[in-house]
C-alpha cells in the first residue's frame, strides 16, 4: 500500500472540505443576518467571517485556478502530511462552525462571543495556514 497520494487528489479533497464547510457557515450566517440576529450590526458579524475563512479559501481557489491553466505532473505528497492537513482543516472548520452554534449557550452577546472567538480561531488558523501552504503554495 502506497504511503503517498497525488498532489492533485490532496488539493481537490482539501478544496472540497473547505468549500463545503465555508459554504455551510456562510449560509448559517446569512440566515442569522436575514432573521435579524445581529440587529443593526450585521456588518460586525461578517467582519468575523471574512478574516476567519476567506483568506485560506482564497489561497486554495487561486492555487486551483492556477493549476487549471498548467499541465501538472504526477507530483505526490506524503499521505501522512495530507492527513494531518485534512484533519487540522476539518478541526478548524468545525470550531468555526461551532462558534456560531454554541453562542446561544454563552453569557456573552453574539458579537462579543464572535469577537472572543478570535482567541482560539487565531491560534488554529496559523497552524492550518502552515499545513495548507505545503499543498497550495509549493511548486507544482
Amino acid at each position: 500500500m502506497s504511503d503517498r497520494v497525488t498532489l492533485a487528489t490532496a488539493q481537490n479533497r482539501l478544496a472540497i472540505l473547505w468549500l463545503t464547510a465555508t459554504g455551510a457557515i456562510f449560509v448559517l450566517l446569512l440566515a442569522q443576518t436575514v432573521a435579524g440576529k445581529y440587529g443593526g450590526q450585521a456588518e460586525r458579524a461578517w467582519a468575523w467571517f471574512v478574516p476567519a475563512l476567506v483568506p485560506t479559501l482564497s489561497l486554495i481557489l487561486s492555487s486551483l485556478a492556477y493549476a487549471a491553466t498548467k499541465r501538472t505532473g504526477r507530483n505526490t505528497v506524503e499521505k501522512r502530511a495530507y492527513r494531518i492537513s485534512f484533519l487540522l482543516s476539518a478541526f478548524y472548520l468545525l470550531v468555526a462552525l461551532s462558534t456560531l452554534l454554541l453562542q446561544p449557550f454563552s453569557d456573552l452577546s453574539p458579537l462579543e462571543f464572535l469577537s472572543m472567538s478570535h482567541l482560539w480561531l487565531g491560534a488554529l488558523q496559523g497552524l492550518v495556514g502552515v499545513a495548507l501552504g505545503a499543498f497550495f503554495t509549493s511548486k507544482m
Binding site: 442569522q32 432573521a35 435579524g36 440576529k37 440587529g39 443593526g40 452554534l101 446561544p104 453574539p110 462579543e112
Partner: protein, 200 residues
C-alpha cells in the same frame, strides 16, 4: 430637595391623570397626593423610585427602569436590564433554534409622575436609560415636610410621563422610543398602577 430637570426630557407618551385619581380636591396639600402616588407604586410592586421638587409648589416621582414586554407588562425579569434577561432558563430545541437565529430584543420603561401647576413641555433632549438611572439615583426618598404641607396651586394636576426604550438586539444599545405604540394610559394600566377604567 433636588429639583426635577425642567423642562423634562422629551417623553415617549404622556397622559394627564383624571382629577380625582390622585388629587382629591382643589388646593389639596402635596402630602396626601404624594401618598396616593406612593400607594399606586406599591400596588404595582415598584419599590424603587425617587422624588424631586418641581419649583416650590410641586413634585415629581421617577420610577426605576423596568423591563417590559411588547404589551407594556413587566417581564418576569422586570428589574434585570442586562441582555441575559431574555434568555430562556431551560434548554429546548425550539428555544435553541430561536436563540440561534433571532435577536433578543429588549423593551424598557421609566414612569415619571409630575404634580405641578406649571405647563409641562418637553425639552429638546431625548432621555437615555443612563440619564434616567442617574436621575433615579439623584432623587430623594421622601417628600420633605415643607412640601407635604404646601397646597397644590389651583391649576395643579398630575401628569404621567412615560419614557420607553427599545433595544433591537443584544448587541444594540437601548434608544428612546419617540412615539410609543402604547398610550401612556395603557402603560400605566399594564404596569399595574391603576385599572384601565380608573384612568379614563
Amino acid at each position: 430637595m433636588p429639583q426635577f430637570p425642567w423642562p423634562p426630557p422629551r417623553w415617549s407618551s404622556r397622559a394627564v391623570l383624571p382629577a380625582a385619581l390622585v388629587i382629591a380636591r382643589e388646593s389639596e396639600p402635596l402630602g396626601p397626593i404624594f401618598d396616593r402616588l406612593r400607594e399606586a407604586l406599591r400596588r404595582a410592586d415598584i419599590s424603587e423610585w425617587s422624588v424631586f421638587a418641581v419649583g416650590g409648589e410641586g413634585f415629581a416621582i421617577v420610577s426605576r427602569l423596568e423591563n417590559i414586554d411588547d404589551d407594556g407588562r413587566p417581564t418576569p425579569t422586570r428589574w434585570s436590564i442586562d441582555r441575559l434577561s431574555a434568555r430562556p432558563r431551560s434548554f429546548s430545541i425550539p428555544g435553541y433554534i430561536a436563540a440561534l437565529f433571532n435577536a433578543s430584543p429588549g423593551r424598557y420603561r421609566v414612569v415619571a409622575f409630575v404634580v405641578t401647576a406649571w405647563p409641562v413641555t418637553a425639552s429638546s433632549s431625548h432621555a437615555t436609560p443612563a440619564t434616567m438611572e442617574n436621575l433615579l439615583a439623584s432623587g430623594a426618598g421622601d417628600l420633605p415636610y415643607e412640601l407635604r404641607i404646601t397646597p397644590l396651586p389651583r391649576s395643579g394636576r398630575c401628569e404621567a410621563l412615560v419614557y420607553e426604550f427599545f433595544r433591537p438586539s443584544e448587541d444594540d444599545s437601548p434608544t428612546q422610543v419617540t412615539a410609543s405604540r402604547l398610550s401612556a394610559i395603557q402603560h400605566l394600566a399594564a404596569a399595574g398602577l391603576w385599572h384601565a377604567e380608573d384612568l379614563r
